[in-house]
């Protein structure tokens, strides 16, 4: 199993003061699907931006560690250069180009491809994964529904022909049936196109269904990692991230909060 992406002991500080992640190491294998789980402010998004190179506009800086993509250190590359290597991030909150049509959104994201033929093929591929976008190809993207915008954001990322697709909270603000649909498509993209996927999610239940491996981040540190099955079976993860399955009898609830064992 070759390694696609490796983070080695990364530390990131914003404004040179606030340390958002404090020594994160993780790997994504070629064609693998990996999830980063954790609560708000744990450092999940910062980790993704470290990889995609989008820390700079937010005055973030990698102060320590190595980022290796296919064995190459990419720390010095700008965000557009990393996209050309095959790293793309779907931003949190979708961020589609609202005044452009979905078709134009896709074309704008294909600025690195010279050939029109190629752009047309890629668009066809995106519309095959998300048939709904094809139907609404001529409406302004700003007026699409939340689910359609999320599909467009993912489709836009696919236009860059990534080797590693990173998604930041794709389930945010979506109805459960849409979450299922979108996660199903992410899984299909992962399997059918052999594309590496790094998924950041608060919805751990949905995420653990489609990944092979997951990391749990708290306060800027990886506190647990393992296969999706291992994490699903872990009582702490069940309690704090999967909604404490099995605890339905509220009369039996004990009056202490369960301590996270990894903090002891």
């Amino acid at each position: 199993m070759t390694v696609l992406l490796a983070l080695e002991n990364i530390e990131v500080a914003y404004d040179r003061v606030f340390q958002a992640i404090k020594g994160v190491s993780l790997t994504v294998p070629e064609g693998g699907a990996v999830a980063l789980l954790g609560a708000n402010g744990a450092g999940k998004s910062t980790t993704l931006k470290t990889v995609s190179g989008l820390l700079k506009p937010e005055r973030g800086e990698v102060t320590r560690g190595n980022i290796l993509f296919q064995g190459q250190d990419i720390a010095a590359l700008s965000a557009p250069q990393r996209v050309r290597l095959g790293i793309v991030q779907v931003l949190e909150g979708r961020r589609v180009f609202g005044h452009l049509t979905p078709a134009e959104n896709l074309i704008a994201a294909a600025s690195m491809h010279r050939s029109r033929q190629k752009v047309a093929e890629l668009m066809e591929m995106v519309f095959a994964f998300f048939p709904r976008l094809g139907q609404r190809a001529n409406a302004k993207a700003g007026y699409l529904s939340g689910g359609e915008q999320q599909m467009l954001a993912i489709g836009r990322a696919l236009m860059t022909e990534p080797k590693l697709l990173m998604l930041d909270e794709p389930s945010l603000g979506l109805a459960p049936y849409l979450v299922d649909e979108i996660f199903g498509t992410i899984s299909r993209i992962n399997r059918e196109r052999g594309m590496g996927v790094l998924l950041v999610e608060q919805n751990a239940t949905a995420a653990l269904e489609i990944v092979d491996h997951a990391y749990l981040i708290e306060n800027g540190r990886v506190v647990m990692s393992g296969s999706a099955e291992t994490l699903k079976a872990n009582p702490d993860v069940q309690e704090f991230y999967l909604g404490g399955a099995g605890r339905v009898d509220y009369h039996a609830v004990k009056h202490y909060r369960r301590r996270k064992r990894w903090l002891a």
Binding site: S52, L54, P57, R59, A79, P80, V83, R84, V88, Q89, V90, L91, R95, V96, F97, G98, H99, L100, E104, N105, I107, A108, A109, S111, M112, V119, K140, G142, Y143, S145, R156, A157, M159, T160
Partner: protein, 295 residues
Amino acid sequence: MDIYFLLELAVNGVLIGLMYTLVALGIVLIFKSSGIANLAQGALAMAGAYIAWALLTLAGVPLWIAVPLSLIAMFFIGAGIERVALRPMIGQPVIMVIMLTLGLEILLRGLVPAIFGSVVKRLDLGIPQAPVIIGPMLINTAYLVSGGVALGLVLLSMLFFGTRIGTVLRAVSDDQTASWSVGISVERAIGLSWGMAGVAAASGGILWGSVQGVDWTLSLLLLKALAVAILGGLDSIFGVLIAGMILGVLESVIPAYLDPYVGGGSRDVVASMVILLTVIFRPHGLFGREDIERV
């Protein structure tokens, strides 16, 4: 005052307004891509006219080469200003960047006439002096040609935004971070818009310079262009097209009625009144982009 006189004023006004639109186009292009109001646009127009004059008169280059050559030169000057002066300012507050463009305007106003001499220069584009007569109206031939050229260039730039590169520029104007995330080189897109602004300013400056002569006062086109851009909505090309014609008509009709009572000079007040009234009553201009809000 008879209707034909009014009509004649209006037609000439529309044609002048189209030239204003051309200069304002540059302000809109830069505002769309980077959210900065470029206050150096007037000086760019003046510089373009000076370069065309220098090529024609000093270097003796034939007209059909001199004009395209000065437009190309202004493309690189515009893009160069972005590269040298504005790119290091990324991350600074917007007001600092706008002040920087104002500083450039003042610098160029002094520097360019200092290099080429401040006496009014004649820029002859070979347009005949005799007016075109349509029925009872006299239309200034220079205005007619310039207006036509300006209209053509504005329509061309509207078509440009439908192309692939144009789509990328519109994406940048929508969301810079998202553009970055899908591999668009935002800096290069902004540089391109500055280059195109330089071309738009220069073509406006050359046309206007052929009418009134080339000297530093060409940079006063900044005020007209700002009025047009604000009235049109700062980020709408169609908006500046309409607003340019509106300002042109107002500027030729209002003085014709008002000047006899106030002793002349009301023409120069019109543009500033347009800016004031637009900002007070319709801050987004006539065709400014609405923010999309889904309910």
